[in-house]
């Protein structure tokens, strides 16, 4: 015990020499905050947490952890839902929450340079006076950070029209696994050479630590129209979405909520949505005013033709904001209808939504667990929330199992296991159902070029630990899984 305590102290002091004592966290009680991210069921205590303020401090921390053979896990706000920021055993967590400066707002060139700890919504807030905004808008946007968004290639409701984080990141300063600082991409529309930015965005902290980012920004649209419509069931709502798209209209967002999700949202937020409906759609059309007026009318007509029970348009900006608040607080609202939930993030081709929802309903019935659906219908990105009660023995495992079955349905329909939450720890076991060993090995080639020692966020994304230069074998549990996580879905 004595040796261990003094060892930790020495570790603390060495990192404190870089980031300052106040920004070095080693007390067990303080480390608890960093044990997990939004995937709260999976917890691992890191060896140490540092909160650097500059790129240089990040680089020095990385070099020191290299010397000490410590794996490194980068962390933004810890809102991720796939366990991408769960520490690995003995790891150093580099928390980027103090790096929240906005360095440069360049309206003329439609770009902004920020540190990774800036909250997503704060970027748009900084741009609002100029009539600009940053498009990707995850539901957690008031707290989630740009660095985390880059790591996970975050989406949000409005990526149907405007794309995901990867479509809005132009360049970044990155600290590599060996502590070198490199600038990739840049502030211009193209940069010379390989498209490294596309690899780093969505690499879940496994290729480098982003310490500065150039983001592309958008001029605010002339007009936005929001439409809320209710339907007897998700079948009609799904048909309405298909009809809108088939009309050649690309709404900026189309969100669907089923009966259970509506109930949770109404109970939690007090929005005056009807409870006796099977599904609701919340859609935004934005752009040039004359076009928006046309597309909104066409979308309303499609909804009515598909069997809408009621179509509402908000009277003013406040009512519109309330509608969106309802949608964006959906996950938090689940507490009103069930003590616990697991959320999945599968994607299916848009035309298969209705069929997949029916399969989910069947699986839900068989498992005896309720599933609420609130999701990005426009791009087929489902968010089934499997409700359970952790106090009932075995129910959590059944919920995890059901979540996994839902992902298999998504794969069966030609979709994906994750649309925006990332693979992380949670979905790594399913990667080999979506991809062949050769596919995974090829992705691993990129990792080997960036981080041959596999020090950055080990144990994530890939279903089995992969060495560089090693042919893939059959799936085996990693040592991490054997020691910490055996039994997860």
């Amino acid at each position: 015990m004595q040796t261990q305590t003094s060892g930790k102290t020495a570790l603390h002091l060495r990192f404190a020499a870089i980031v300052g004592d106040a920004n070095t966290i080693s007390a067990v009680s303080d480390l608890l905050t960093y044990e997990c991210d939004g995937l709260t069921g999976t917890r691992v205590t890191p060896a140490l947490v540092v909160l650097p303020a500059t790129t240089d401090e990040v680089a020095r921390c990385v070099r020191l952890s290299n010397e000490l053979h410590m794996p490194i896990v980068a962390r933004g706000a810890g809102t991720g839902l796939s366990g991408g920021a769960v520490p690995s055993n003995g790891s150093l967590v580099i928390g980027l929450s103090r790096m929240k400066a906005i360095f440069e707002v360049d309206i003329a060139n439609e770009r902004i340079r920020v540190q990774p700890g800036v909250a997503n919504l704060d970027v748009s807030r900084a741009l609002a006076p100029h009539g600009y905004y940053y498009a990707p808008d995850p539901s957690s946007q008031s707290v989630c950070t740009i660095g985390g968004n880059v790591g996970e290639n975050s989406g949000g409701a409005h990526c149907l029209k405007y794309g995901f984080t990867v479509n809005h990141v132009m360049g970044a300063t990155v600290v590599l696994a060996d502590g070198t600082i490199v600038s990739i991409g840049g502030p211009l529309v193209d940069s010379l050479g390989y498209n490294l930015m596309a690899l780093v965005v969505g690499s879940e902290g496994m290729l480098g630590i982003v310490t500065e980012v150039w983001l592309r920004i958008l001029r605010s649209p002339q007009k936005t129209r929001t439409i809320f419509a209710t339907f007897p069931s998700t079948d009609e709502a799904g048909a309405a979405v298909s009809a809108i798209i088939a009309d050649g209209i690309i709404p900026s967002a189309v969100e669907m909520m089923d009966r259970l999700a509506i109930k949770a949202i109404v109970t939690a937020t007090g929005v005056d949505w009807p409870l006796d409906v099977g599904a609701a759609l919340l859609a935004d059309m934005d752009g040039v005013a004359a076009e928006v007026d046309h597309t909104a009318e066409a979308a309303i007509a499609s909804m009515q033709l598909a069997g809408a029970l009621e179509v509402r348009t908000p009277r003013d900006a406040a009512e519109r904001a309330l509608m969106w608040k309802g949608r964006k607080s959906a996950f938090a609202a689940m507490g009103r209808i069930g003590p616990n939930y697991v959320v999945q993030d599968g994607v299916v081709p848009r035309k298969e939504i209705a069929a997949v929802l029916r399969e989910i309903a069947r699986l839900s019935e068989t498992a005896g667990l309720r599933v609420a659906n609130v999701f990005h219908a426009g791009d087929g990105n489902l968010h089934p929330l499997v409700l359970y009660d952790a106090r009932i023995s075995g129910e959590e495992a059944r919920a995890e199992h059901l979540g996994g079955e839902i992902l298999r349905v998504c794969i069966k329909y030609g979709g994906s296991i994750t649309g925006e939450h990332g693979v992380g720890l949670d979905k790594a076991p399913y990667m080999s159902e979506l991809f062949s060993d050769d596919d995974l090995e090829t992705m691993n080639l990129a990792r080997c070029a960036f981080d041959p020692q596999r020090l950055l966020n080990p144990g994530k994304v890939f279903p089995a630990p992969r060495l560089c230069g090693e042919r893939p074998g059959p799936f085996v549990l990693s040592s991490l899984e054997r020691s910490e996580l055996a039994g997860r879905g």
């Binding site: 193209d190 050479g193 490294l196 035309k351 062949s436 080997c448």
Partner: protein
């Protein structure tokens, strides 16, 4: 181009993988070719050449999902015909759609003026099937519009010029065809006024599909700017009216024209002469670019043609070089690189005595070390178009 007898032409991805495996065993170096419209540099004479010409199937078209999966050798024109049957299009501007292939467009990061509104293939590609240098077939991404499972190799291979892997097929996002399309030409603007016009358009919050500035003469007031609107009728004409109003206030000379005429500038510059360079800069520096880059480049060429996408900082200069051209190119490249931009020589006259007039790519970027590591990770024996990309990648 090479004697066609030496060209390998697999007709399925599996056949391509088998061929690539054989070539790997033999240690043969090779280059890939699609339509041959966007290749920078010529393959070495001893190397194998693999054409994707017969990889020409539309694998899966899901109009309801606005996605299409096509083999690499499908031409842009053929895909456009198929998509048009369902009222859709791939928003990709290439100058020779009958010859340009999807695989070639991906490998060369081909784009045109509609990138302003729709992005480039980096934004439109959703998934890819590859054959690696060692003959192993692999895929990344997927068929759905939203997907973050695994590293996104599909966007990574965009613009890799055949130096990482053979692209055998790709899934792409497609868009609805517009109801109407209308261009409007604002004539005789100086570079300063071109930039002011762009700011004024942004101020109005209108959303042009493309803005193309064509340089009509030397000196002041030399640009004609074509602004193209596409979409639903009411939206397009409201925006055209908005430009008329702007022009009235500023006493600018404008005329409406068919949007095909605006897009013709891209094809015209490709037949302008044996030298063509494309420059990437900050958009706001357009007037400075005119003075320090475009004017000197135009002056060193016989019958120069210049067009620009000023809203996103791209301009292209083409013509016939004169004896002083190499030195001017070097100076301009140095100037543009100092400001963080790049000057790529897309075509140049055949090398004399084995020495090209100018290296096509310019100074490798700060992340070049990573690029070298990626190259050796994907192609450890440097067999895929070695030396053909930035810094000899």
């Amino acid at each position: 181009m090479r004697d066609t007898a030496n060209i390998l032409e697999p007709s399925t991805p599996a056949e391509a993988a088998a061929l690539m495996h054989e070539l790997a065993s033999a240690g043969t170096r090779l280059a890939f070719v699609g339509g041959g419209t966007h290749m920078i540099g010529e393959p070495e004479s001893g190397d194998a050449l693999l054409s994707t010409r017969r990889l020409s199937r539309i694998v899966e078209y899901a109009p309801e999902d606005q996605t299409v999966t096509v083999e690499a050798g499908v031409t842009v024109a053929k895909l456009a015909d198929v998509l048009a049957t369902c009222g859709q299009r791939l928003v990709l501007d290439v100058s020779d759609p009958q010859r340009s292939t999807i695989g070639g467009a991906i490998a060369s990061n081909a784009y045109g003026p509609r990138r302003l509104r729709f992005g480039s293939l980096k934004d439109l590609i959703l998934g890819v099937s590859l054959v690696r240098a060692d003959g192993v077939a692999a895929r990344a991404g997927g068929k759905v519009v939203k997907n973050v499972a695994g590293f996104d190799l599909s966007k990574f291979v965009v613009g890799s010029h055949g130096t990482l892997a053979l692209i055998t097929s790709a899934t792409l996002r497609v868009h609805p065809l517009p109801q109407v399309s209308q261009a409007i030409r604002v004539a005789q603007l100086s570079a300063e006024l071109v930039w002011e016009l762009i700011l004024a358009l942004r101020e109005q919050q209108i959303e042009p599909t493309a803005i193309i500035a064509v340089r009509r003469m030397n000196g002041l007031a030399c640009y004609d700017v074509d602004i193209v609107f596409e979409g639903v009728r009411s939206g397009v004409y409201a925006q055209v009216d908005c430009v008329h109003a702007l022009a009235d206030i500023r006493r600018l000379s404008i005329a409406e024209l068919a949007s095909e005429r605006a897009f013709a500038a891209d094809a015209e510059i490709r037949s302008a002469g044996p030298l063509r360079v494309r420059c990437t800069t900050s958009p706001s520096g357009f007037a400075a670019s005119e003075e320090h880059l475009i004017e000197p480049l135009a002056r060193t060429l016989t019958s120069p043609v210049v067009n620009a996408y000023p809203a996103f900082g791209i301009f292209t200069v083409a013509g016939t070089p004169t004896p002083g051209t190499a030195a001017v190119l070097a100076t301009c490249r140095e100037r543009i690189e100092r400001r963080g931009g790049s000057l790529i020589v897309e075509v140049q006259p055949p090398a004399t005595g084995g020495v090209p007039m100018i290296e096509p790519w310019g100074t490798p970027p700060p992340s070049f070390g990573l690029m070298q590591q990626l190259k050796s990770s994907f192609d450890p024996n440097r067999r895929l178009a070695p030396g053909h990309f930035v810094g000899g990648l």
